[in-house]
């Protein structure tokens, strides 16, 4: 079975055609200044090179050190200036500052915007929602097809460790440039897309390097009201070409106000907390000895989710100091017909911004009736169940812990997975890589210490987690082909990794030890 939903895709570029047209159009020699091979030679764009931060904390400046507020928030000015320029050149589909917006009165401060123009002129398209990792498809719309006038600047780490700006720098494919482009259907002022290494055609999938780039952008902009967001496939990303979104809104988001409860602090000093009293269950990451520590921890968590085929959203807030990670199951519920019609009627797609509390509404009626209660109702549908959330957490903490041990990106090298539990027999219809790319239908079976290779599978109970958040215990009689990747684990191992007991252990058995010393 394949899960699909129909929705109106967001038009992010003026060169984005309906998929049908897109497929028919010939690529190459297009003569409209895009970012594909045909138009890159000779093309120039501003280039901003940021200084790599070693300390995560940019605030701690002593008066003696005479490092007052940075003279100009430079990236901020560059982005705003370029964006305003595109606005005055009329590149956007509508003037977002003419869209009515308000803070909904109530306890949480949800923000509503009435945006009737965003979804016009576009046919609903089918999206597959049961695969978080899908291979890049060059025939579909991707960001190399945007016009160069839609690109604001190139964004990269500076080589000599100082901020650099070149107003007009050639685009050099061999340097794998990352670019910042406008979203022609903005949901707030300054809505842009950060596209890491655009010419490499990366699919929508987090890796450590790209996430660090996004975090640098948040830190570099240095504005708590400039936030970055990420939607995985299956969590309302519509374009399978790696990108982060970002915009300005000088209001605190409800998710940023939600109380949190610390779960653990990693060896690298990254504090992981759980959101409390918020309709969507999620984790908050902050601290860390360096920006890179924080980035690695979060990206390992994201990689874990996408490898386990769990759709998720990420919000980078507070200049990169706080990161929210929110696994979700709305699209799956929608595809299975489990979402109530009244919610579907609003046509609100709960992606990262909606989950954070910024609701973009398409109907005047919904805008006028917007209330805490309605927002809560919608978001509650997005959230995993408590049971499922704890299971997912267990997977995440396992991934973070192995990341701490110095193991590199699990995704890039499945062979060096830590063998904390005796691995692993992969019963698979095709190669190992299929698990990663997700192109094949496969079934992955993990056996615990008790499950010796060669022992008849019928002798074993196996637990597995379905995408809709159910933990199922089954007696394996036969290996089935299924439409998606499930990670199966034996029951015993499950108890060790899942639920509050595991959480407790991770929390105290690790952190208690150093306390004995003094």
């Amino acid at each position: 079975m394949m899960l699909r939903i129909k929705r109106v895709p967001t038009v992010v570029s003026n060169y984005q055609k309906d998929e049908a047209e897109e497929g028919a159009r010939r690529v190459g020699g297009c003569g409209r200044n895009c970012l594909s091979q045909c138009c890159i030679p000779g093309a120039k764009l501003p280039l901003y090179a940021f200084k790599k931060l070693n300390k995560i904390d940019g605030d701690k400046e002593l008066p003696g050190s005479e490092k007052r507020e940075p003279p100009v928030a430079f990236l901020d000015s560059l982005l705003l200036g370029e964006w305003e320029d595109r606005m005055q050149r009329g590149l956007f589909r509508y003037d977002v500052t003419a869209c009515e917006t308000k803070v909904i009165p109530g306890q949480f401060g949800f923000i509503a915007q009435l945006n009737e123009g965003r979804h016009l002129k576009k046919r609903p398209t089918e999206f597959r929602v049961d695969k978080v990792l899908q291979p890049f498809d060059g025939n579909k719309f991707n960001f190399t097809k945007v016009g160069q006038e839609e690109v604001l600047f190139q964004f990269e780490a500076s080589e000599d460790g100082e901020v650099q700006f070149i107003p007009s720098a050639p685009i050099e494919p061999e340097n794998s440039p990352s670019v910042v482009a406008i979203n022609v259907s903005p949901i707030e002022y300054g809505h842009v897309l950060l596209i890491p290494r655009i010419l490499e055609h990366l699919p929508q999938r987090i890796d450590r390097e790209s996430f660090l780039l996004a975090l640098h952008m948040a830190a570099e902009a240095g504005n708590p009201y400039f936030r970055l967001g990420y939607n995985s496939l299956g969590a309302f990303a519509t374009i399978n070409h790696l990108h982060f979104q970002a915009y300005y809104l000088a209001v605190t988001f409800p998710i940023e106000k939600a109380p949190t409860k610390k779960i653990t602090v990693s060896d690298a000093g990254v504090k992981v907390s759980e959101l409390l009293n918020y309709p969507v269950r999620g984790l908050v990451f902050e601290g860390g000895n360096t920006l890179q520590d924080l980035s690695n921890t979060v990206s390992d968590a994201c990689i874990c989710l996408q490898e386990n085929n769990i759709p998720y959203n990420v919000l980078i807030s507070d200049c990169g100091k706080r990161i929210f990670l929110l696994p979700q199951c709305y699209a799956e519920k929608q595809a299975l017909g489990e979402v109530r019609a009244e919610l579907l009627d609003t046509q609100v797609n709960p992606a990262v911004w909606e989950i954070s509390g910024h609701m973009v509404l398409k109907r005047k009626k919904d805008y006028e009736e917007a209330s805490d209660e309605n927002a809560w109702k919608l978001l509650a549908e997005v959230s995993l169940s408590e049971e499922r959330f704890q299971e997912v957490n267990a997977l995440i903490f396992e991934a973070i812990a192995s990341g701490d041990n110095g193991n590199a990106n699990l995704l890039e090298d499945p062979e060096v997975k830590p063998r904390s539990h005796e691995e692993v027999d992969v019963i698979n219809t095709s190669s190992h890589a299929a698990m990663v790319t997700g192109t094949q239908q496969c079934l992955v079976l993990q056996l615990s210490e008790e499950m010796k290779k060669g022992l008849h599978p019928q002798m074993q109970w196996i637990s597995y987690v379905t995408q809709s958040g159910r933990l199922m215990h089954v007696m394996m009689t036969k290996i089935h082909h299924v439409g998606k990747v499930y990670h199966l684990k034996a029951k015993r191992q499950m108890t060790e990794n899942l639920g509050q007991v595991a959480k407790f252990r991770q929390r105290y058995e690790k952190t208690a030890a150093p306390k004995e010393e003094p």
């Binding site: 007052r68 005055q88 107003p167 209001v251 409390l276």
Partner: protein, 398 residues
């Protein structure tokens, strides 16, 4: 820097008379007073108690933003709550981890409240009292990190749900689970001890409130001497044409020279002008606010340009003109003026922004960003500030 300090002194002394500093110095508490109308929302007064507690000298503190006392262990959420309170112009009492000059962190109870202008209801200052939290935490956390206050309170809930979940998880492994659970019970107390506790006591809370009252009564008293009365509660609604302090704070961060004018008031007066505007034109704040921009014109100003400006305002369109303007000292300069309508949260035009740029002037350090780009970036920043800060909870005007 000089003029900045001048502004700070002016902010304070002009409202409360010269003797207020002395009177405030006699109060024993640790507190600061900040001015949201100045760029960067700087500290304009710091008590002796405050300087002693943090180990700074007066000159190191005046003119700086309170955030310099925060550090890596400061709870980001608490910082955000303070930001919210300033924005909403209300009082807040919160536990906060601050850092002394030598880098050592300490917990304090931070109590902040706005001081209002009695006449027009605007926030003139914020008073912040810092009471050190005396009760020692039972155990120190890791390097002072991870200190969020709700935690000990939440422990019960945490373990409560924990047991329930474990039990419901599976029957097969019940025996195993039970043994784990007893292990959990043992660990329970230990767990509580590790948590950092930093709740301020009622005594400390009362102390903070008393200190605030003392400071407010001093400020009120001295404002009577100048006739520019202040009070601790908003006495009248914000007057028409005045910007909220939060909008003032946001606009104050924009470094370019610009003015906001209100097209809904007779003669389109200036309702905000940036520090850089005063520097460029030589005028002072009170000489500018409430007046129409035409005082910048002079004998040689080209009237066709003035017509173009009027036209663009009428058509509600952006425009850029090159116009000859005059400073207060009668010297003239070519002004590359960009004008654009700015909409509020209901999508209606609330102001016009005019960004001035002196032609041929080697402008500040810009890392190579072109003057035009900087001008546009100021427009963008103004748009965000005006839109976001007119969203406040409550029925939107339509």
């Amino acid at each position: 820097m000089e003029s900045e300090l001048g502004l700070i002194e002016q902010s304070f002394n002009s409202r409360y008379s010269l003797w207020v500093q002395e009177a405030l110095s006699e109060l024993p508490d640790s507190f600061t007073i900040t001015d949201p109308c100045l760029s960067g929302h700087p500290i304009v007064f710091a008590s002796k108690g405050f300087l002693k507690m943090l180990g700074y000298s007066k000159s190191e503190v005046i003119g700086r933003n309170g955030r310099v006392f925060q550090g890596p262990g400061t709870c980001r959420r608490s910082v955000m709550e303070i930001r919210e309170a300033i924005r909403e112009e209300r009082a807040i009492q919160i536990n906060l981890l601050n850092y002394r000059k030598d880098g050592t962190p300490f917990w304090m109870l931070f109590h902040m409240c706005p001081v209002f202008n009695k006449e027009d209801g605007r926030v003139t200052h914020f008073v912040g009292v810092q009471i050190p939290i005396s009760r020692k935490p039972r155990r120190s956390g890791r390097n002072g990190v991870n200190l969020c206050e709700e935690e000990s309170r939440m422990n019960d809930i945490f373990y409560g749900s924990c047991r329930k979940e474990v039990c419901s998880d599976s029957l097969v492994e019940l025996g195993r689970v039970l043994s784990l659970e007893s292990a959990l019970d043992d660990a329970d107390d230990r767990g509580l001890e590790i948590e950092e506790s930093c709740e301020a006591s009622d005594v400390e809370k009362t102390r903070a409130a008393t200190a605030i009252n003392n400071i407010l009564s001093v400020l009120t008293h001295y404002s009577e001497l100048t006739g520019r009365l202040v009070c601790g509660k908003r006495c009248s609604l914000s007057g028409v044409g005045l910007l909220s302090s939060s909008l003032n704070i946001s606009l104050g961060r924009i470094k370019q020279s610009f003015v906001l004018t209100d097209p809904h008031l007779p003669d389109m007066p200036i309702v905000y002008a940036s520090d850089a505007f005063f520097k460029l034109t030589g005028y002072a704040r009170h000489e500018v606010l409430g007046r129409n921009c035409r005082f910048l014109r002079g004998v040689d100003t080209d009237s066709s340009m003035i017509y173009r400006i009027k036209e663009s305002i009428q058509n509600e369109k952006a425009c850029t003109v090159r116009i000859l303007n005059y400073r207060k000292d009668k010297s003239s300069f070519w002004n590359l003026l960009h004008i654009s309508p700015v909409r509020n949260a209901s999508g209606k035009i609330a102001y016009f922004v005019g960004v001035q740029m002196e032609e041929g002037c080697k402008n500040q350090v810009g890392h190579g960003l072109s003057p035009e780009m900087r001008q546009l970036s100021a427009v963008g920043a103004v748009r965000i500030a005006v839109r976001s800060l007119s969203m406040g909870a409550g029925p939107s005007k339509s």
